[in-house]
Amino acid sequence: MAKVLAFAESRGGELRKVAFEAVTAARQAADSSGGGEVHALLLGAPGVAARGAELGRYGADHVTVIEHAGLERYSAEVFAATAAARLSAGDYRAAFFPASAQGRDLTPRVAARLGVSLASDVTGFELRADDVLAQHPGYTGKVIVTLRLVGTPALLSLRPGVITPVEQPRTARVETAAPALEPAAARVMVTELTQRAAARLDLGEARVIVSGGRGLRAAENFKLVEDLAAAIGNAAVGATRAVTDDGWRPATDQIGQTGRVVTPDLYIAVGISGAIQHLAGMRTAKTIVAINKDKDAPIFKIADYGIVGDLFEIVPRLTEEMKRVRHDQ
């Protein structure tokens, strides 16, 4: 019976999808050990406690909410001190964090404070009697490394999108607590947070990603990609490194070894040849569609469905057909 902690990431007072993924993973881990308790930890500005009960829907038995006016934005020092304090107080077997931008910043700090090890960017895990096994795609996804963590708590950060949130409702006990460090005492102060177009779906949360490469020939032709994403609905737009390097799209849209690593249900690669750098970021997508004029492009080696030809003819047709599919539903 293992007690497991899940870190519930929020932004702007709302839980992010990775929060439900972490709770779902923690529930799976606890159940696999014979049914221990799942505790969730949620930090944010006053009001965030109202979100705490939602975590019960995914299997949390207990939610600790840290509300503080100084926590409207992420503070690495406050979050790390608070998570470490929670973990040392609780006799936890394991703890799940998201390998999101925030989680990648936070989790190593928590591990170092506790003097325990961390398996990062994990795609699978198994709690055993004396250790925890975790799968991590290394070497740009070309090698699956199975890591063995000894000692408690075992810290794991989960690759976003790999765990599908599963509802398994419980009535979570929600309690509020104070942060382990006063936000005003943090040495690093966030002075500005500029949100890009709020309605935009984040690449890590999108079930469908339409991505464009150099084959689009010019920045303005990304409209084709945008239109297709809009026609599908709930789709995000990504890009290759070549495209972001040329300034056609912001660097934050880059998918690949040096950009975001994504695992959507459907990935549509438009005018993308499929350099290793790019494949590293999307090869774990569940279904890959490629549209490219060069039938020998490497992308066709991994695409479940490839269409060879002129994207300037194919993509508008696909957009029209997608609109029809949505209309019929």
């Binding site: 591990a111 490394v145 690449l203 590293a280 090869r283 066709f300 080696k301 269409i307 194919i314």
Partner: protein, 250 residues
């Protein structure tokens, strides 16, 4: 300004990897090693800061076997003043063990800044920088894409999944560097000659007891071989049919 840049030797990612008979390590034959991409950006940031901010030096540090010396010499050729190899038979997979060795080396070094790449390109974990910061009890900002240093404070910007965050911090500090901030320079012939005479110290890495191990390595299951379903816009209806009935993603 005294700056340490911690760098890691990683295999060239273009390689076709294969697994050794022990099923827990890479077959080394044919592997070429180089400095990690992000570590190159970190080194360039360090070199430019010292050039701009007046007197100072960049010290490069790496944990690993003697094979890391070639990479350290390259960093010296690019302009680092000296190099330290924290010698270990291999680079441990436990980021905290590496952080312990680095923290022990850097603790009393009087560094204003300690720089890392955002992550090593082989493990893609990005844990050692923030772990080292915690062990040294220094402020830390990760994955920064812009940096300004003014007196004893710095301002950094980082991208956060659809948002951009600006923060300020006091020195000394630990920073991890994302791409786009600086393009690593090429070593000049003069630099390469000078590097041969620059100090490269070797000390044992104080790794402590690791708690994370490699249990197994395997090549990922191949995706089903790619399939071209047609040519041109006429193939679109077939694509939709397959997405609906076979992949079931629509």
């Amino acid at each position: 300004m005294k700056i340490a840049v911690c760098i890691k030797r990683v295999p060239d990612m273009e390689a076709r990897f294969s697994i050794s008979a022990d099923r827990k390590s890479l077959d080394q034959s044919g592997l070429k090693y180089e400095m990690g991409d992000f570590d190159g950006y970190a080194l360039e940031v360090g070199l430019q800061l010292v050039e701009k901010q007046g007197p100072g030096e960049v010290v490069v540090v790496s944990v690993g076997p003697d094979g890391v010396q070639e990479m350290l010499r390259k960093a010296l050729a690019m302009g680092a003043a000296r190099a330290v190899q924290l010698k270990a038979d291999e680079v441990p997979v436990d980021g905290l063990a590496i952080a312990r060795a680095l923290a022990a080396e850097l603790k009393d070094g009087g560094y204003d800044l300690i720089l890392f790449g955002r992550m090593a390109t082989d493990t893609a974990s990005g844990t050692v920088g923030p772990m080292t910061a915690e062990l040294l009890e220094l402020p830390c900002v990760t994955a920064i894409s812009q940096l300004e240093i003014s007196g004893s404070r710095g301002t950094a910007r980082r991208d956060l999944e659809g948002a951009t965050e600006t923060s300020t911090f006091p020195l000394p500090a630990v920073l991890t560097i994302d791409e786009g901030i600086a393009r690593p320079r090429l070593a000049s012939l003069k630099g390469i000659m000078a590097a041969k005479k620059k100090p490269l110290e070797v000390r044992p890495a104080q790794l402590g007891e690791p708690h994370l191990f490699i249990e197994a390595m395997a090549l990922p299951p191949d995706r089903p071989p790619g399939r071209i379903i047609g040519e041109g816009a006429e193939a679109v209806p077939e694509l939709l049919r397959l997405l609906k009935t076979e992949a079931k993603v629509l």
